[in-house]
């Protein structure tokens, strides 16, 4: 919000700080082995938390690609999600995270994918309280962010993927995500369906390229065109599939 003020948008007339509510800023393991992260946990604490590092290193990696240490010390994981184009989102989508909201009539929970598809909270004046991710023990994860320089840079393309194989080397479960720039990261569900139950062959990988570009539907700006973003998203996801074949 301070950034927006610097760019000419005034603060709203009233601001309420939730920063002192400790329960909104902790990380714990749930009974089923998932990780529950309080929405007000700062990004750096989240990145370096032993539980996150051990059970969900890909999230740690993705958060490391956000801004700088100084900004991660202040910015929160909840803020990054609600921003709509935050760089933590692709991995959270790939890991099928759940969001919990505090609403007038109690706590409500939903898949992050559902929230992002409609881009609004499940109820009026709902407050995001925590984010829960299952530890991706059975599958492999991939994340990459591309910007116009190495670090502390807005994303041009961000991709993430979670993939689980069967014993017969076919794809059991896959979630592919592409975003970047003003593009809200989204699951590439049609491409995922193409892959389920199949064995990864060179032909299959090559044939997926056009589909990824189309489904990602990334739009461009003065710094990088739509075509470039889509091509890069496809290249990165396919190279990742190929490399862990």
């Amino acid at each position: 919000m301070q950034m927006q003020r610097e760019q000419g948008v005034s603060f709203p007339p009233h601001l309420i700080s939730l920063e002192r509510i400790q329960e909104l800023a902790d990380i714990e393991e749930t009974v089923d082995g998932s990780i529950r992260i309080g929405a007000l946990t700062d990004l750096e604490s989240c990145r370096t938390h032993p539980l996150v590092r051990r059970k969900c290193p890909i999230l740690s990696e993705a958060i490391g690609a956000i801004a700088s240490p100084a900004v991660r010390n202040r910015g929160t994981i909840g803020g990054n999600v609600l921003y709509g184009v935050g760089d933590a989102i692709p991995v959270l989508l790939a890991l099928d995270a759940r969001l919990s909201w505090f609403c007038e009539n109690g706590i409500r929970s939903e898949w992050i994918n559902d929230y992002l598809s409609k881009q609004e909270a499940p109820a009026k004046a709902a407050i995001l309280t925590d984010i829960t991710v299952a530890s991706p023990v059975k599958g492999r994860c991939f994340f990459r962010k591309i910007g116009r320089r190495e670090t502390f840079v807005p994303s041009v393309v961000t991709v993430a993927m979670y993939r689980e194989m069967t014993d017969r080397h076919t794809i059991k479960e896959i979630r592919m995500v592409a975003g970047g720039g003003v593009n809200t990261p989204r699951r590439l569900k049609m491409c995922e369906r193409e892959l389920i139950g199949k064995e990864l062959t060179d032909d299959l990988i090559v044939s997926l390229s056009a589909g990824i570009k189309e489904e990602a539907a990334l739009i461009g700006d003065v710094f990088a065109s739509a075509d470039y973003r889509r091509t890069v998203a496809a290249n990165l996801l396919l190279a990742a599939l190929q490399s862990d074949r």
């Binding site: 670090t151 003065v222 075509d227 470039y228 496809a234 490399s243």
Partner: protein, 744 residues
């Protein structure tokens, strides 16, 4: 090379140094400047009535309040201080407010009512040159034409075995000094004005302000150092006139410190240029013909646009000897901001094109690119690029051979090939003129005194923007006199106390400090020793200057304090001009520095992104005065140039800035830079050379871009002709087939 700690170092690392934007004064007001909402418009009306009623507003100025010349510009004062009828870019000022707080000043700007009639926006030189284009200035839209011809170009082309033609485009670069423009302007009780605002030439600011305020120069004092960076960007006036007018209007000190957005909007930038080069070689690889046309987007006002174009024209054939040369340059007014002075001064743009041509030509005739350069590069006694006599040195060949050694070594140790990465190595060389050039007033000077309290005071009209002039002055003075640094008192950056030394630009500072000391030391030492001889009764010939005072046979006989006590201060001054060629060729330089750059890059085949993994710079600029300063200038210049090559571009859309701050205008971060930057300083000069150390403020920025571009070609076979290198273009080039086997 001796490693010396800078005199201003301790205060900088502790945060105790007061920059001029850190100053506050009692009763101080805060000011802001209203800039144009449109890149080109007629001003129909301007009302400050509502803003004046806002509590806490102390003064508002418009064009009606400029007492004398409503214009500024180092050479031609064509930029209005406050616009009256027309605005020509979004940084044009219409009004300025002084208020009790920055918030009130900001609020007051919003209450100023301006009605504009938008006019056609000339957002490219092509549009500005169209027949139907409105004139931005009475003389039309061409600011300046420049050219150089030698030999029969058509005949020479007809004899070439191969001709390469390419059009190169280079971007608008932001200086991005970390300290944005600002300071405090204080009205003094005696009616004079003290201006605490950074600039690269205090006396020039004084002259410009005097012309605007209608106030004698003697009544204006400019305190102009230290600065948090400048790189050419603070040489022209920026906020000084507004602060001065408001201070005079209110009778109170007025502070302005531009926000980054305000700075982006109003500051000058590096000239974007489009350069077409057509170059021909014969069978043996000799360069025979070289034709260049340059179109520079100079923006809305003149500032140093003409001189920058002249510099680019001069350096169009760089360090190479070519039979026939035809260079034409055009600097065009547009509504795209204002382009002006920037480290490298047109050399960076033209060198990118020229060194691109060299590699293309070598490939065209199947010759090693190094060999082609070796064959055509200037030798010691060769004339300069405009045919003028220059100070003879072997710099060009020395940097080429140094770079060649590094190039071969790096080629032998290429990292292992990985699936999605390719690496490449590239090389480029350049020569770069120092000083303002023939036919331009380029005076220098300094003053050396023994003060009443026994300090050896050395004074220059130079400015400290971070480049390390204080360290240079300290090193050169102690070396010339034989005293120690604690004996010195260095005075710069205050027109009340310094002599005229000319501008702190054009890599002239180090050079002029050294020249001054060569002139000052003889008479100064003589007067000191004469005084000491009188005091001590020892023969003058037996005495010498040493640490702390006057020495004889390894013993200090008389301290500077004792020598000075009860005597009139000893003062020695010098005034002279920057050395120029004996040949009267307008703008031609005489002292050049040379650079050879080797870059290694890694190209990501999936994304088209380029990472520079190694950067080595060989520099021939005479003896190194201060090792840390020299290294800092070369490394820092190199990284600034990496930004120019890979990411920096002030994007404008229809005359409005699309990049407003450092979130979208990207400069290199620590992760974009090779972890170990390498350099070699070639310090040797011919025995007969009397010109001493040359400045290295600019040379480190000049030849990096073409070295990186040539390395990209080496990696993936893509010829870069447009900066910054767009990953998109890299990726597209690969889609066209070069690396087809790796593609999906």
């Amino acid at each position: 090379m001796e490693k010396k700690i800078r005199p201003d170092g301790r205060e900088k690392v502790t945060g105790r140094l007061k920059y001029l934007t850190d100053l506050t004064f009692p009763e101080m007001l805060w000011a802001k400047v209203l800039r144009s909402a449109y890149p080109h418009a007629r001003i129909l009306s301007l009302s400050t009535e509502k803003a004046r009623k806002l509590p806490g507003v102390r003064a508002i100025i418009t064009h009606e309040d400029v007492p004398a010349l409503n214009g500024f510009g180092i050479v031609t004062p064509d930029q209005p201080v406050l616009c009256k009828d027309v605005v020509r870019y979004v940084g044009d000022a219409l009004a300025a407010v002084a208020a009790d707080s920055i918030e009130i000043a900001a609020r007051a700007l919003e209450l100023i009512e301006v009605h504009y009639e938008p006019l056609p926006v000339l957002d490219s030189p092509e549009k500005a040159l169209a027949k139907s284009a409105p004139f931005l200035h009475p003389g039309g839209n061409v600011l300046h034409r420049a050219g150089f011809q030698k030999g029969d170009i058509q005949a020479a082309f007809s004899q070439c075995a191969k001709i390469v033609e390419e059009t190169y485009e280079v971007p608008r670069q932001l200086h991005a000094y970390m300290e944005t423009e600002g300071g405090v302007i204080v009205p003094e009780k005696d009616g004079s004005l003290t201006v605490y605002v950074g600039t690269q030439h205090g006396f020039k600011d004084r002259f410009q302000l005097s012309r605007i305020l209608g106030m004698p120069e003697e009544k204006i004092r400019i305190i102009s150092s230290p600065m948090g960076g400048s790189f050419g960007g603070k040489d022209e006036l920026n906020i000084q006139p507004y602060g001065a007018l408001l201070a005079l209007a209110t009778g109170r000190p007025v502070k302005i410190h531009q926000t980054r957005q305000e700075s982006m909007r109003s500051s000058i930038k590096r000239h974007p240029m489009k350069i077409t080069m057509k170059t021909g070689v014969d069978q043996t690889g000799r360069l025979r013909a070289h034709q260049t046309t340059i179109t520079a987007d100079t923006g809305a006002y003149a500032t140093l646009g003409p001189a920058i174009l002249d510099f680019a024209v001069e350096h169009a054939c760089g360090p190479y000897i070519i039979d026939a040369v035809d260079t034409k340059g055009l600097s065009v007014f547009t509504n795209n901001g204002v382009s002006g002075e920037f480290r490298g001064f047109g050399g960076n743009q033209i060198t990118f094109a020229l060194e691109g041509q060299m590699d293309r030509l070598a490939a065209a005739i199947g010759m090693d690119a190094l060999e082609l350069r070796r064959l055509n590069i200037r030798r010691k006694e060769d004339p300069g690029p405009l045919g003028q006599r220059i100070a003879p040195t072997n710099g060009a060949l020395e940097v080429l051979e140094s770079a060649a050694r590094v190039y071969h070594a790096k080629k032998q140790h290429m990292p292992k090939r990985s699936t999605w990465k390719r690496t490449g190595t590239g090389l480029a060389v350049t020569m770069h003129g120092g000083g303002l050039g023939f036919g331009r007033m380029d005076p220098a000077g300094g003053r050396l005194s023994l003060t009443e309290n026994g300090k050896v005071e050395i004074a220059f009209g130079f400015e400290e923007a971070g480049q390390g002039i204080l360290a240079v002055i300290e090193a050169v003075t102690t070396e010339a006199l034989g005293c120690k640094k604690e004996d010195l008192s260095i005075v710069i950056g205050d027109t009340a106390f310094v002599p005229s030394s000319g501008s702190t630009t054009a890599s002239r500072g180090t050079s002029m400090v050294w020249h001054s000391l060569q002139r000052l030391k003889g008479p100064f030492i003589k007067q000191l020793l004469q005084g000491a001889a009188q005091r001590t009764g020892i023969e003058e010939e037996e005495l010498s200057i040493g640490p702390g005072g006057i020495w004889k046979e390894g013993r200090c006989m008389l301290s500077f304090e004792s020598l000075a006590a009860g005597k009139e201060p000893i003062v020695v001054s010098t005034q002279f001009d920057f050395p120029v060629s004996p040949d009267p060729i307008d703008s031609a330089h005489f002292l050049y520095t040379y650079s050879g750059v080797v870059a290694q890059v890694e190209v990501d085949l999936l994304t088209g992104k380029i990472k520079v993994t190694e950067l080595h710079q060989s520099t021939a600029a005479g003896p190194v005065v201060n090792e840390l300063g020299y290294r800092g200038q070369i490394e820092g210049g190199g990284v600034m140039a990496l930004g120019y090559t890979l990411m920096e571009d002030v994007v404008m859309k229809e005359g409005q800035y699309a990049t407003e701050n450092l979130d979208s205008y990207l400069i290199p971060g620590i992760g974009d830079v090779p972890f170990q930057l390498e350099l070699e300083a070639i310090e040797t000069l011919p025995l007969e050379d009397h010109y001493g150390p040359r400045g290295v403020g600019e040379i480190g920025t000049v030849a990096v871009a073409p070295a990186v571009a040539n390395a990209i070609y080496d990696a993936i076979g893509f010829r870069v002709s447009c900066l910054p290198v767009k990953p998109e273009a890299v990726l597209q080039s690969m889609e066209r087939g070069i690396l087809h086997e790796n593609r999906f």
